[in-house]
């Protein structure tokens, strides 16, 4: 039962009906039941482990609420994160492990639990007293597979207090659901066949093809992850629940450090609050700050996947961030010296940042470090594959055209959002007939031009694998 499946729509509809029928103070039980059902449908074997971890961390939280022992806190956090740690260690050791040991959404809910325990330990929040409510917080179904990683103080109370039906939120939710489907089926899934083909057979291509594959992969990854979060936000709004944004238009980032202030915000904030700041952040001198950045990105790399290539990817981002900061005065001085217009400078910086992120994808997406290195080398090699073959590499010319049009549309929407213009707000001010026309047109475009159905696995999301 993926987030784009019909069965998921049915689950949401049933949950909505039950949610608004029950009295306000019982409505959270519907979300809990839906969460368990959703998880059971997706990963029944792993459900006991998820529940066990949740129950353990619930009691650990209660204990930490009374006893602020650091040792106890570390023990509780480590035990709660044991499945995640086991996965990392066993994978690095090359030891095979059972599927139930790696439940769906493990990387997300493990960080969620650690943040909960840490916040209880530091006294930022009070521990939840009701075990079932806590399990709901961990298994909240619209976001358990692919995040964002919620904070208890932001999400918890929203889940537990019953919401009255709010038409404005519901409309916004439905708009977000349509937008989520657009991102998933018109961009992420459209780009996937090309990306999959080139990375799977990376030794056969050179020149611009690998570069295009890496560029399309970052676009695919962004659209895929954003769509999942958007769907999660949309479905949550139908229940009156606000899920935090996880992206802030990363295409406008002018440096790698800004990129991480716009990309996967819940992870970036988690790493900042629970790793970077506790390590001293930038308060203990430049050298220590850079070391902290390296540590943060090593953890980020390992969180994304087990393999040297993920470590290299993390280190590359750390290096770019540090180098960017060190060379900032030099670059600023140079721009002033040649009197580069501010707008041009902005575009160049955005383009450079995009290129650096694309470059890092050779390590992130390739099947191993040597494959990634080969793809980088192949950028400068001249072999058989060239542009005329472009349309035979998984996406035909029609789908390329649809993808290009969708990307232009996404860019327009994000440009408007960057300027503080709410597209939903504009639509909502239109008469019903116009809105109806927009919704139906969007539906028809996605229905006809989207990539889904037999041969495509549009029910899966890339970040669900991490």
């Amino acid at each position: 039962m993926g987030y784009t499946d019909f069965s998921y729509c049915l689950l949401v509809l049933c949950a909505l009906a039950a949610y608004y029928i029950l009295p306000l103070n019982r409505r959270w039980t519907v979300l809990l039941t839906a969460g368990i059902v959703f998880y059971a449908f997706n990963d029944l074997k792993a459900l006991p482990l998820v529940l066990l971890t949740a129950v353990f961390s619930f009691f650990a939280g209660k204990l930490l609420g009374r006893n602020k022992s650091k040792v106890l806190y570390i023990c509780c956090a480590v035990i709660s994160a044991l499945p995640l740690l086991s996965k990392v260690i066993l994978s690095f050791a090359g030891i095979p492990f059972a599927g139930w040991l790696v439940p769906l959404g493990l990387s997300f809910y493990s960080l969620q639990i650690i943040s909960y325990l840490t916040d209880v330990y530091t006294g930022k929040i009070s521990p939840q007293e009701n075990c079932l409510k806590y399990i709901l917080f961990i298994t909240y179904f619209p976001q358990i597979i692919q995040g964002p990683i919620p904070r208890y103080e932001q999400l918890g109370h929203q889940l537990f207090e019953g919401h009255r039906f709010d038409e404005d939120k519901a409309v916004r939710g439905l708009q977000l659901i349509i937008w989520g489907y657009f991102l998933k089926l018109m961009i992420a899934e459209k780009a996937a066949p090309f990306v999959n083909r080139i990375f799977a057979d990376c030794y056969s291509y050179s020149g611009i093809i690998p570069l295009l594959a890496a560029a399309l992969f970052i676009i695919q990854l962004y659209a895929d992850f954003l769509s999942c979060v958007t769907l999660s936000q949309g479905v949550s709004l139908l229940f009156g629940i606000e899920v935090a944004d996880n992206f802030r238009r990363p295409v406008f980032a002018e440096s790698i450090s800004e990129f991480w202030r716009r990309w996967h915000l819940s992870l970036s904030h988690w790493l900042r609050d629970y790793v970077y700041f506790p390590l001293g952040g930038s308060r203990k001198g430049k050298l220590r700050k850079y070391l902290n950045i390296i540590v943060v990105f090593i953890i980020s790399g390992l969180w994304h996947g087990v393999g040297i290539n993920y470590l290299i990817w993390g280190l590359f981002h750390a290096f770019c961030q540090i180098a960017g900061e060190l060379t900032m005065p030099l670059r600023t001085g140079l721009c002033r010296a040649i009197r580069m217009p501010a707008l041009l400078r902005t575009y160049i910086r955005r383009f450079n940042t995009f290129l650096l992120v694309v470059f890092s994808m050779f390590f992130f997406r390739a099947y191993g470090t040597s494959a990634g290195l080969y793809m980088i080398r192949s950028l400068f090699m001249r072999t058989g594959s060239s542009l005329p073959d472009l349309f035979s590499l998984g996406i035909d010319r029609y789908d390329f055209a649809v993808l290009a049009a969708s990307l232009i549309f996404l860019l327009i929407i994000e440009t408007l959002q960057e300027k503080g213009i709410s597209v939903c707000g504009i639509i909502n001010k239109k008469p019903f007939a116009v809105r109806l026309g927009i919704y139906l047109a969007a539906f028809l475009v996605i229905l006809v031009f989207g990539t889904y159905g037999i041969g495509f696995d549009s029910g899966q999301f890339i970040y669900g694998m991490f």
Partner: protein, 347 residues
């Protein structure tokens, strides 16, 4: 409360319009096998629904071998027997079973003539269930319990398929926007229903080495279990409705004595008639000539079809009385015209 009700009404309106849009898009996007194709499957099933109720006495069923092998017009013109050919490309036994069930809602046939090539592994797809062929036959079926059961069975067998897409075909065929054909945009153009499911081919096969069985053997072939399961259901269905089920195998390169033995045994065990025209005795009896009567090594042309139909007519004429029916009388000229046309084959 009123505000909420208005919102619900608006959402319902949008949902209904989306559904209508999907169905409208499906009309354009679903593949159409009209009379411009060698086997006009879409026309076959539409024309079946267009037949007057309780007028069909014999149903032919099976794969393309049956579609090209049995001419309802010939059967009527020579024996006065009213028949319809419900066969379709690679029609597997599951399709046949559900289409027979569907057909029985509209007609009361006395006999069903079923080609058996699909009972054995044809190397076309796992269990001989080729998704495009399934869609060709199931998509034109009216929404009914039979369709729902058929869809459930196919999706159970192949979970990669989507149930919903059988009811909203645009979900399956949306990629066809890239290569729409003439009839996709002219879907409303009237098609002739005169062939009654039969595919009339006039060309003759390229030289092909074929010999009817002469050497007897005790060997047996194994039926695809799923095909056998549904063949059993077909047998039961016909038995329950008092329909005479006749198993046949038209001349073709895939036939073998071992397959004949298996079906012979099946027919004997179930009290069915079985005619394999690849047996030399039968092949000679109907005066079949592979090089003259086949369109290709698998499918009979009109000359072969008339010989095969003639034989079935002789078998059935004793039990099914001749009846005058304008549905077959009015289609005679069209059939003759098609027969006179120069050989052409496309699909």
């Amino acid at each position: 409360m009123n505000k909420h009700r208005l919102f619900l009404i608006r959402v319902s309106v949008v949902s209904v319009l989306c559904l209508l849009l999907s169905l409208g898009a499906s009309v354009i996007l679903e593949p159409k096998f009209y009379n411009d194709k060698a086997i006009a499957t879409t026309v076959t099933f539409r024309s079946f629904y267009a037949m007057q109720k309780d007028t069909v006495d014999v149903l032919f069923a099976g794969s393309s071998h049956a579609v090209c092998g049995y001419s309802p017009q010939y059967l009527y013109d020579h024996f006065g027997i009213r028949s319809f050919n419900l066969g379709s490309d690679e029609q597997n036994m599951i399709i046949t079973y559900y289409w027979l069930k569907e057909a029985l809602k509209y007609q009361k046939p006395s006999a069903v003539v079923l080609d058996t090539v699909i009972c054995f592994d044809l190397d076309i797809a796992e269990n001989n269930i080729n998704e495009p062929s399934v869609r060709k036959a199931i998509d034109p079926m009216r929404l009914s319990l039979n369709k729902i059961n058929a869809v459930n069975d196919f999706v159970r067998i192949n979970p990669a398929e989507s149930k919903l897409s059988y009811y909203i075909p645009a979900l399956r065929f949306h990629e066809r926007w890239k290569n729409l054909e003439y009839y996709d945009l002219h879907f409303f153009e009237k098609q002739s229903y005169d062939m009654k499911g039969y595919s009339l081919l006039t060309n003759k096969t390229e030289p092909f080495e074929y010999h009817p069985f002469t050497v007897e053997t005790d060997e047996q072939s194994t039926m695809v279990p799923l095909m056998k399961e549904y063949l059993n259901r077909i047998t039961e269905l016909c038995s329950d409705h008092g329909i005479k089920l006749i198993l046949v195998k038209t001349p073709c390169y895939q036939a073998s004595y071992a397959k004949y033995n298996t079906l012979r045994q099946y027919a004997d065990e179930n009290g069915l008639d079985y005619y394999d025209y690849n047996l030399k005795e039968l092949y000679d009896l109907i005066n079949f000539d592979f090089s003259e009567d086949m369109s290709d090594p698998g499918h009979a042309n009109v000359y072969g079809a008339e010989k095969l139909t003639e034989h079935i007519g002789q078998i059935l004429s004793g039990t099914i009385p001749a009846v005058e029916d304008s549905q077959w009388i009015l289609s005679r000229d069209y059939y003759c015209q098609k027969k006179e046309q120069k050989p052409q084959k496309d699909n």
